[in-house]
Amino acid sequence: MAKEKEVMSVYKKILAIYPHPDDESFGKAGALALHAKEGAEITLVCATSGQMGRRMGKPFFANRETLWKIREQELKDACNVIGIKDLRLWRMLDKTLQFEDPEELADRVETVLNEVKPELVYSYYPNYAVHPDHDALAEAVILAISRFPKEERPVVYASAFSKNCEKIIGTPDHVMDVSEVLDVKLDALRAHRSQSEFIIKKLEQSLAAETEKQDVLLEPYRKERYWTIKV
């Protein structure tokens, strides 16, 4: 862990780029919170407003027409919790990124790369990230980065979770222990109430009912897995 922290503290400018409000928190809020704690400047691009999400809260409090605004506010709350000060909302339509011109999408990413000049980019792993928006935006990120001269390209920490993905891309080379910011991470997840309440409530009930199982229950939240992509 100490070593991991040393590695992380190297990065001072970070760009996280994901398609949906909550992608930055599920499985990733820990790393981002650690970076913030180390004093890094983090920019988050959220390409859609998650307009077409299926979860409306449990019990539901959103409908198809109100969901996007609620999710944007949840994202702003999560950014405050994590320590992300630069949030950029593109407000493209959920589920449609895969049908945009890939070069145009990459242009948009390139513009942000030029503005932010990140040393490290958090994204999904193209083809292994289940949701078509995840894959499409991740491909645009790789394409945009590949346009820069080799020595100027940032490192990419990518998330993958498709079935059996490890058989093809191997095991993640960064398994981060985010225990020291576990509370921050859980609060970031809580901020995305419309999308997370069903999980968080269950977790909290289990924690209260089975205090002896705390370690087991929280274990999945302590570890975050990233694959380095060298473009």
Partner: protein, 137 residues
Amino acid sequence: MWIEAYTHYQTNAQSKKEVIRMKSIDRGEVQQYLDQFLNQDLYYHLETSNGSYASLESEQQMSVCAFIRNGRIRYSRGTIAGAGPYRVGLKLEEGWVYAEGLTDYEMTEKGQLLLGGYDHEGRIGIALELSRHPFSV
């Protein structure tokens, strides 16, 4: 409109009693709203989905989803049927629009008729919405 919903959502964040504007379908009321839209050029939103993660969650499932956002429509007969969840059929000059599994509805201040089908987890499985003006994109 969303501000009102969001204020409720914030105000009630700690309370168990949620204020939501969608309410359980009253078949008679929805029928009246459907009649108000008869023989007019309208925008519609129609969707159904079992979620992008359906195939990840179970190998027996495949992810299916379809939506039409701001399609144009004009119907000469619009009917709600069933005892809940409900079905709605719209008879077009040269075809039909059909939605099944509708549980909740709302007529917004903007004059949008929102019909949604929510499951026990609060997930929307189907939505049919009608409006004289385009929905936000």
